[in-house]
Amino acid sequence: MFHFKPGSRIPLAAALAVAMLSTATAAADTLYEQMGGMEAMERIAARTIDLSAADPRIADEFRLVKLRRVKEKLALQFCELTGGPCKYDGDPMKPLHKPMKLTTADFNALVEAAQQAMREENISFRLQNKLIAILAPLHKEIVTVK
C-alpha cells in the first residue's frame, strides 16, 4: 500500500498508478462473479438484445431471429468469457455473422446497447470496460464489411 504524508502533494503519475493498481487488486474474483453471476448475465444479455432490436441502426438484423434464443446464447457467451461456469454452445461467431454483412458501426451499436444494459444493471464503468475488452477482439470475426 502507498501512504502519503497528510498535506504532501501526490504526484499525478502516482495518482494514476494508484488508480491502475486499484483496478488490479480486485482481480481475486472472476469478472463473472464481480458482475453479479448468471442472473446478471441473463438480464444484461436480454436487455442488450432488446435495445439492439429496437435500434434503427441494427434492428433489421434481429427481425428474422428468435430473440429468446439469441438472449440465451449471448448470456452463455458472457458467462463463459468472464470466467463463469458455462460453455457457449451457439453457432460459431464467424459463419453466424458473415451473411449479415456487418460494419464496425453495426458492431459498435451493439456495444453501445451492452454498455447501456450494464449501466442499467449498475455495473461500474471499470467492470464494463473489462467485459468490453474481452468482447472487442470479436470485431475481427463479426465485422466483414470494411
Binding site: 433489421d60 464496425t104 459498435n108 451499436a109 456495444v111 464494463q128 473489462k130 474481452i134 477482439p137 464489411v145
Partner: protein
C-alpha cells in the same frame, strides 16, 4: 444525395474519394446497385460509428489527440466506412500570455486525417517588456496530415500491438522580421512525427507515446531553429484514464527543443478532464505548464477547448 445510400467499396476506391468526390459518388452508387445488397439499410458516409470518446479530442496543433500530445487515433467518429469532421476552439490563459487556437480536422475512413489550424499568441504586457509593444501578437497557420499505418488501438485488446500513425505538420508563422530579430532561422517549417496509441480497456486506460522531429520554437510561434539548428527528436506522452463512458482524466507531457539564444525554453505538461456529452460535442478543461517562455518565467495557466463535429 450520394451521401446517404448503401455502398460497398474497397480501400482503393475509398481513396478515390479524396481525388474526385463527385465522380466517386456516382461510381459508388453504381457499384452498390450492381452488387444487389442483401439488405437495403441506409448507410451514411457521416456514419458517426465509432464509440464515444474514441476519436479523442483536438491537441494544441489541431491534430486528433489530447491537450499537448498527438494520438495515433484518427479524429472524429467516422469508421473505416465513414468521414468525421471536427471544429475546435482552444483558449489558453498563461501567467503572461494568451493563446487562441481555431481549426478544423477531418478524419477519412479511419485512415487519414487532415487538419488546418490558426493560432494567435498574445503577448499582453510582456510584449511591452520585450520591446514589441503591448499586446503584440505572434501567430501561425498549421496544416497537418496524419496517416494510420498499422495496428488497432481499440479492437485488438488481445494484443499489445498499438495503433501506429505517422504525420507531418507544416507550420507557417507570422511576423518573420521579428522572428529573425529574436534569432529564429526561419518562419516556416515542417514537423514530422510517429505516434503509437493503445487503449488498455481492462484498465480503462489510453496510452500514447509520440516521437516528433522538430526545430519549432514554442510550437513554431517563435519561428524555427536558430543560426544553425537541425531538427531534434522530441517526446510526447499521454496517459488517459476513462472515468466514465463520457469522461476522461488525463495527463500529457511534451518535450520541446531549446534553440533560441535569447531565452530558455522548457518542457510542457498538462492535466486535463475531457467531457463528451454526446458524439457531436466535447469540452476539455486543463491545467497547463508550458515552461519558460520568452524571458517571462514559467508559464502556468488553464486551458479550455471546445469541440463540435459530425
Amino acid at each position: 444525395m450520394c451521401l446517404n445510400h448503401s455502398w460497398r467499396m474497397s480501400f482503393l476506391s475509398k481513396s478515390l474519394f479524396f481525388a474526385l468526390v463527385v465522380s466517386t459518388c456516382s461510381v459508388v452508387f453504381e457499384a452498390g446497385a450492381a452488387a444487389a445488397p442483401i439488405k437495403d439499410r441506409q448507410e451514411s458516409i457521416w456514419d458517426q460509428g465509432k464509440l464515444i470518446a474514441t476519436g479523442g479530442v483536438t491537441q494544441i496543433e489541431g491534430a486528433g489527440g489530447s491537450g499537448l500530445t498527438t494520438w495515433a487515433l484518427i479524429t472524429g467518429y467516422g469508421t473505416e466506412r465513414g468521414i468525421g469532421v471536427n471544429a475546435h476552439h482552444t483558449f489558453v490563459a498563461l501567467d503572461d500570455f494568451k493563446l487562441n487556437s481555431t481549426g478544423v480536422a477531418v478524419g477519412f475512413f479511419d485512415r487519414l486525417e487532415l487538419s488546418a489550424t490558426r493560432q494567435w499568441f498574445d503577448t499582453g504586457t510582456a510584449g511591452a517588456r520585450l520591446g514589441l509593444g503591448e499586446d503584440f501578437t505572434f501567430g501561425q497557420d498549421i496544416w497537418g496530415a496524419k496517416l494510420r499505418l498499422l495496428g488497432d488501438a481499440i479492437y485488438a485488446q488481445n494484443s499489445w500491438m498499438p495503433q501506429v500513425a505517422v504525420g507531418v505538420q507544416y507550420k507557417n508563422a507570422d511576423k518573420e522580421a521579428v522572428l529573425e530579430a529574436l534569432g529564429a532561422a526561419r518562419a516556416d517549417d515542417l514537423d514530422f512525427y510517429v505516434t503509437a496509441t493503445k487503449a488498455v480497456l481492462k484498465h480503462s486506460l489510453i496510452i500514447t507515446t509520440t516521437a516528433r522531429l522538430t526545430r519549432a520554437n514554442q510550437f513554431g510561434l517563435l519561428g524555427f531553429g536558430s543560426a544553425d539548428t537541425a531538427r531534434s527528436l522530441q517526446f510526447e506522452g499521454s496517459l488517459a484514464y476513462m472515468l466514465r463512458r463520457n469522461l476522461i482524466l488525463g495527463a500529457d507531457y511534451r518535450s520541446k527543443p531549446d534553440n533560441l539564444a535569447f531565452a530558455d525554453e522548457g518542457d510542457a505538461a498538462a492535466l486535463y478532464l475531457a467531457y463528451f456529452p454526446n458524439k457531436n460535442f466535447s469540452v476539455t478543461f486543463a491545467a497547463v505548464d508550458l515552461g519558460d517562455i520568452a524571458l517571462q518565467g514559467k508559464q502556468r495557466g488553464f486551458y479550455v477547448s471546445l469541440q463540435a463535429g459530425f
